[in-house]
């Protein structure tokens, strides 16, 4: 299925690129893509410590939802796949320095980041504000009113939950300290990004804890190609790829496979792009 789609998509992307005069006028726009195709190997930067997005299985192999997505891309292009583990602090540099061709590494889409790397539209996922709490301790956001809730200092979740639900934010310098404080019972919950909480819950270290609430707010995630190639074949191809992931229900399927709490965003995107998908077929 991927193959058939890919041929069409790649054709459209190349045609679009050529048609808009991209290939001829700016060699740099496709340099990496061409080089990658000739080498026959796609190098993708993924997380290796963020279960279930990108993590190491017991054999040491990097697996996860974003790894499956990377494999989809390689399959579509008909090249082999190499994974490079990246950190939040170096993932953009890796892309800029050419160490990776593509980055799918749980990165939030922010305007300042768009100036550094080529974040592809549409977004492939959104995370939201949620909490982790002891099983059974919290049933609704309102349960938190007036109670101490641990957060990370400077995090955007703190102010909104304080203002919306009147929680008493107890913010720590790092995630580790804040989560330790939750474990010690110094607060009733830890408010943060739902994907991060999901990752912690999946790690097996938080057996007596849960993420009991419906996430609030949308914090879109972006995968990225080198900034110069966003308008080239590579950027357009990944854009098409993302449409396909949404419309085909592939992301929802992967979400299920990796035990990620279903997000309304993916369902909504799948419905929205359904027509276009049918059209492309």
């Amino acid at each position: 299925m991927i193959k058939t789609w890919a041929k069409t998509a790649l054709g459209v992307a190349v045609a679009a690129a050529v048609g808009f005069g991209m290939v001829s006028t700016a060699e740099a726009k496709n340099e990496r893509f061409m080089e990658m195709m000739s080498r026959g190997k796609l190098v993708v930067g993924v997380k290796a410590d963020y279960k279930p997005w990108g993590f190491r299985d017991p054999s040491g192999k990097i697996v996860g939802m974003e790894v499956d997505m990377a494999q989809d891309v390689a399959d579509a292009l008909g090249v082999s796949l190499e994974l490079v583990p990246v950190q939040s602090s170096n993932r953009m540099q890796f892309l800029q320095q050419g160490k990776i061709d593509l980055m799918i590494a749980t990165m939030s889409d922010r305007s300042d980041r768009r100036k550094l790397v080529g974040i592809v539209d549409p977004n492939y996922y959104t995370s939201g504000t949620n909490i982790m709490a002891r099983k059974g301790a919290v049933k609704s956001w309102e349960d938190l009113r007036g109670k101490p809730v641990c957060g990370k200092q400077g995090a955007f979740y703190n102010k909104i939950t304080a203002q919306r639900y009147g929680v008493k934010i107890v913010a720590f310098v790092g995630n580790a300290e804040a989560k330790q404080a939750l474990r010690d019972g110094k607060c009733i919950a830890w408010v943060y990004d739902d994907s991060s909480i999901g990752s912690d819950l999946a790690s097996g270290d938080w057996d007596n804890f849960e993420m009991p609430l419906a996430s609030e707010d949308d914090n879109p995630w972006g995968l990225a190609v080198p900034l110069e190639e966003l308008d080239g074949i590579w950027g357009h191809f990944m854009s098409g790829m993302t449409y396909w992931w949404h419309s085909s229900g592939r992301l929802i399927e992967l979400e299920k496979k990796w035990g990620i709490k279903p997000t309304a965003y993916l369902q909504h995107q799948a419905d929205k792009f359904k027509f276009e998908h049918g059209h492309l077929k």
Partner: protein, 247 residues
């Protein structure tokens, strides 16, 4: 107060882009005012208890009981030679879990709050230096003065309270002054254990509002002001304690 200044600062933001959000948005203003009080309580309490620790510690250091002297030496080494930041984390996360707490359903109300731990930790930190400062002051009191008290029937403790300490205190004041100024500055590290003092609060404000330079200015003004008040007070005290015809 807020109503008085909020107009000006909102204008300032709209015309120049200088975003002193704490002076024109009620939510941020409330946070800021709370932070002033938390910082002041924290500092005053830590100042007070650090001096108490110093006084008791210096007395224990001169004790005839060897175990007590060893304990004091260990205490001073530990607190002088480790970062106060680590001490705060240790008190809060390690000792904090060993103290009694009340189950509130899903979380515990600890007997000692993070504020309490910050006061304890900072008092012991600055107290370790105060012990040394007071000890130097005590050593400066002539042995003969001590003997005169002894000959009048004073016990060691009575002589310490009524004769030695008042004299040692005067000698110690300049060094104490320095250490207490340091304590005011170190108090900001309580942000590590989520005490909503000034640095903690303004850091959250500037994360939420992207106005780092403006909030930094407020931070500097706040601490410069606090230190100035402390130094002024200490000098005044020093002057009041000056003994006519002595030293």
């Amino acid at each position: 107060m807020f109503d008085l200044i909020s107009g000006f600062f909102r204008d300032l933001y709209e015309t120049t882009g200088w975003n002193f959000v704490i002076f024109y948005e009620q939510y941020e203003w409330d946070r800021f005012v709370d932070a002033i009080w938390v910082s002041l309580y924290l500092i005053v309490a830590a100042l007070f208890f650090s001096v108490v620790v110093g006084i008791i510690g210096a007395w224990a250091q001169g004790s005839p009981i060897r175990a007590l002297r060893l304990l004091m030496a260990g205490y001073i080494q530990f607190f002088r030679n480790t970062p106060p930041y680590v001490q705060l984390l240790f008190f809060f996360f390690v000792l904090g879990n060993l103290t009694p707490k009340v189950d509130m359903g899903g979380y515990y109300e600890p007997m000692i709050s993070s504020f309490g731990w910050a006061v304890i930790s900072l008092s012991f930190f600055a107290g370790a230096f105060n012990v040394e400062i007071f000890r130097a002051g005590i050593e400066a009191v002539p042995h003969s003065t001590r003997e005169a008290a002894e000959a009048l029937g004073y016990t060691r403790l009575q002589a310490y309270i009524h004769v030695i300490l008042p004299l040692a205190f005067r000698v110690s004041l300049p060094a104490l002054n320095n250490n207490l100024v340091n304590l005011v500055k170190t108090s900001t590290q309580a942000f590590a254990i989520a005490v909503p003092e000034m640095l903690y609060t303004l850091a959250q404000v500037w994360s939420d509002n992207s106005n780092v330079p403006e909030m930094m200015i407020i931070l500097f003004i706040f601490y410069v002001g606090l230190v100035a008040i402390l130094v002024f007070g200490m000098h005044k005290w020093e002057k009041n304690m000056r003994i006519p015809g002595y030293g």
